[in-house]
């Protein structure tokens, strides 16, 4: 068994704190690394040791492989946990950690490379019997007959996309096979003009898609454990907002098939550690037609892992430690079925009323919800500064109940108790999604938010009570906060519309 007694967490914010708590609960020590603006963070406060690693920009701190490994050496850490994002799916990092003689709490560099390459990952999935989205690339000399024959095999609706670009250029949707040859020609012309590259490919278009993912753990020797499924369909520009487990309104047999497919992938690649296999699930009218296709595999712990932990009764960080030590999981886990229902709401420092622009400022007050069935994984507390350097995820609020209705009711209560002063957040927007008919009846799909909620704005109504509270607040806080912070973006500044927003 591999020795592991002190784990460096190469991350920040809520996930660093969650991993630190996880390893400490196992009796291990935790080492935090921090950039200049994170010195006072919750994660650093919780750690046993902490090493400064540079200026706030990630490239000068959290993404600097040499600095992270140097920090591990300086503190005698024998393990490194990468969290999610940052270096977690950087094969060179995993390699460097191994070469430094430190245990990496994650997969092998080979697995990271394999699943990080979309083409290779797709090839591996198909080789493991996992279906991928049917696609076809016509050669430039392909005849109309050849294209039509290929299209018929793929089935409709079909998306015709430019190979070279994005942004919707050269993209068309054919609902009828007869439309295909002409659309391909038009798309090729458009692609040539827009990108100088006429190549297009055809792909089955999955309408009203649900994003369903399977939590897996591999022992690195071909052994695989699946720990249920999560639904992450509620997304905005591919950024997940609300997740839940188990997956509502999908037949158990379909989920079972997905778990089998994911398990095959883990076994055949001898995957080591925790990971998630993501699928796109097609839902046609009613519940017939639940075809699913492999999207990608994430070779790390995911943001939404708490919903799995609550319904499966597991600690995924503890499992990662066990695998890293060369141990295996409790065989009991292989038989376990999910119990109850969990929902997670991500709290982003974004302004949904203004195009979800990032919101920055000093958090003069933070109140998190408490009570039965409520778990909060928060990276920030009162007094913390929210900057533009990092991803705007402040925290996750997770509710658990005996069934979906109770989880929803508990989440509504929790959101009503939550208060964040200093930045705009996505909380109210998420509350409206939870109240929506689509969510209540489990009719979510991946473009729901863009289709139906793209022009959402917070309500303007103010009643007498609200006005009175504002007057009282102005009076009672006239002295201002103790030791304020730097001013928010002053009105002399006008942000031009050229936002480049990482999603």
């Amino acid at each position: 068994m591999t020795q592991l007694s002190r784990v460096l967490v190469a991350n920040r914010g809520e996930i660093a704190l969650r991993v630190i708590r996880g390893v400490q609960a196992l009796g291990l020590e935790a080492v935090a690394v921090y950039s200049e603006v994170d010195a006072g963070s919750l994660a650093v406060q919780a750690a046993d040791h902490a090493v400064p690693i540079g200026a706030p920009p990630p490239g000068e701190s959290y993404l600097d492989i040499e600095k992270v490994i140097a920090a591990a050496r300086a503190t005698g850490a024998d393990g490194i946990h990468p969290g999610y994002g940052f270096l977690s799916e950087n094969a060179d990092f995993a390699q460097a950690v191994a070469e430094a003689g430190i245990t990496f709490l994650g997969p092998t560099p080979e697995s990271i490379r394999l699943m990080g390459d979309k083409t290779q990952a797709g090839d591996q999935a198909r080789a493991s019997g996992v279906p991928t989205v049917p696609a076809f690339t016509p050669s430039p000399e392909a005849t109309v007959a050849e294209i039509s024959a290929a299209a018929e095999k793929l089935g409709t609706p079909l998306m015709i996309k430019a190979a070279a670009g994005g942004g919707g250029k050269g993209m068309r949707i054919a609902r009828d096979l007869a439309e295909v040859p002409e659309m391909v020609e038009a798309a090729q012309r458009e692609a040539q003009t827009a990108f100088g590259d006429a190549r297009v490919f055809l792909e089955r278009y999955i309408e009203r898609a649900r994003h369903v993912e399977i939590q897996v753990v591999g022992d690195g020797k071909g052994g695989a454990l699946t720990l249920g499924a999560r639904d992450c369909s509620l997304q905005r520009r591919h950024q997940k907002l609300i997740e839940e487990s188990p997956v509502p309104a999908v037949p158990a047999a379909v989920i079972q098939d997905m778990e089998t497919a994911a398990s095959n992938l883990v076994q055949q690649t001898q995957y080591r550690g925790a990971g998630t296999v993501e699928f796109i699930l097609e839902t046609r009218d009613g519940d017939s037609g639940h075809a699913f296709f492999f999207l990608e595999m994430n070779t790390r712990l995911q943001v939404e892992h708490p919903v799995t932990e609550l319904v499966q009764g597991v600690d995924l960080v503890a499992l990662q430690v066990a695998i890293a030590r060369g141990e295996s999981w409790d065989p009991d886990l292989e038989q376990r079925s999910p119990s109850g229902h969990a929902i997670e709401v991500r709290v982003y420092a974004e302004n949904p009323g203004v195009g979800f622009l990032p919101s920055i400022g000093t958090l003069t007050e933070v109140v998190w919800p408490q009570g039965p069935g409520i778990r909060v994984d928060a990276g920030v507390a009162s007094g913390d500064e929210v900057t533009l350097y990092y991803d705007p995820l402040l925290a996750k609020i997770i509710s658990y109940g005996v069934d979906r209705d109770q989880a929803i009711a508990r989440m509504r209560r929790a959101l009503a108790e939550t208060f964040i002063a200093g930045v705009e957040t996505s909380l109210e927007f998420c509350r409206e999604i939870l109240d929506s008919t689509a969510f209540r009846s489990s009719q979510m799909y991946t473009t729901l938010i863009e289709d139906e909620l793209s022009d959402w704005a917070p309500r303007e109504d103010t009643d007498a009570w609200q006005s009175a509270a504002i007057e009282a607040a102005l009076h009672l806080t006239a002295g201002g906060p103790v030791g304020g912070g730097p001013p928010k973006l002053p009105t002399a500044w006008e942000s031009l519309r050229d936002w480049r927003h990482d999603s």
């Binding site: 003069t364 009503a416 002063a421 917070p458």
Partner: protein, 157 residues
């Protein structure tokens, strides 16, 4: 009676009076929890000031709104140290992309003076009032740190 809202101490409690409304009583205030009472109905709010003291955040049942403090200058980031003179400084680190005016130039309120790139965003610095540009401390391509004064203006009539 005055039409303006007022908050006053009376009979050992704090009362909030709005025009044409029965007054509300502050039942309790333990930061950040404020409880108002009227006619045996109580509602609780969570409140906190902003870091710069220019606004308050008020939340009820999870709906949070920010409210400007009336009568305070909205031009934070503008230090009016000397009458009519203003220093416009950068709130965050960035790079000067464009300098649109020259020293000695007369500018109008709202006119763009400088464009700064910070965190993948472009921000234009505007003149708060009709003024003359007295000093420009940076040139195109320069890096600015948070708090650096970029442009000094003297207000004109």
């Amino acid at each position: 009676m005055s039409q303006a809202p007022r908050v006053e101490q009376r009979d050992g409690a704090l009362w909030v009076t709005l025009p044409n409304e029965e007054p509300f009583r502050v039942l309790s205030w333990r930061a950040p929890r404020l409880v108002l009472e009227r006619g045996n109905v109580i509602k609780s709010f969570l409140i906190a000031p902003s870091a710069d003291g220019e606004s308050v955040w008020v939340s009820h049942e999870g709906r949070t709104r920010q409210h400007e403090r009336p009568g305070r200058s909205r031009a934070s980031g503008v230090a009016a140290a000397v009458a009519g003179h203003e220093d416009l400084s950068s709130p965050m680190p960035g790079k000067i992309l464009q300098v649109l005016v020259a020293e000695g130039q007369q500018v109008e309120a709202g006119q763009r003076l400088v464009v700064v790139e910070a965190m993948k965003m472009e921000n234009a610095l505007r003149a708060p009032h009709d003024s003359t540009v007295t000093k420009i401390h940076f040139a195109e391509g320069d890096t600015v740190a948070a708090g650096d004064c970029i442009v000094e203006l003297d207000a004109t009539e």
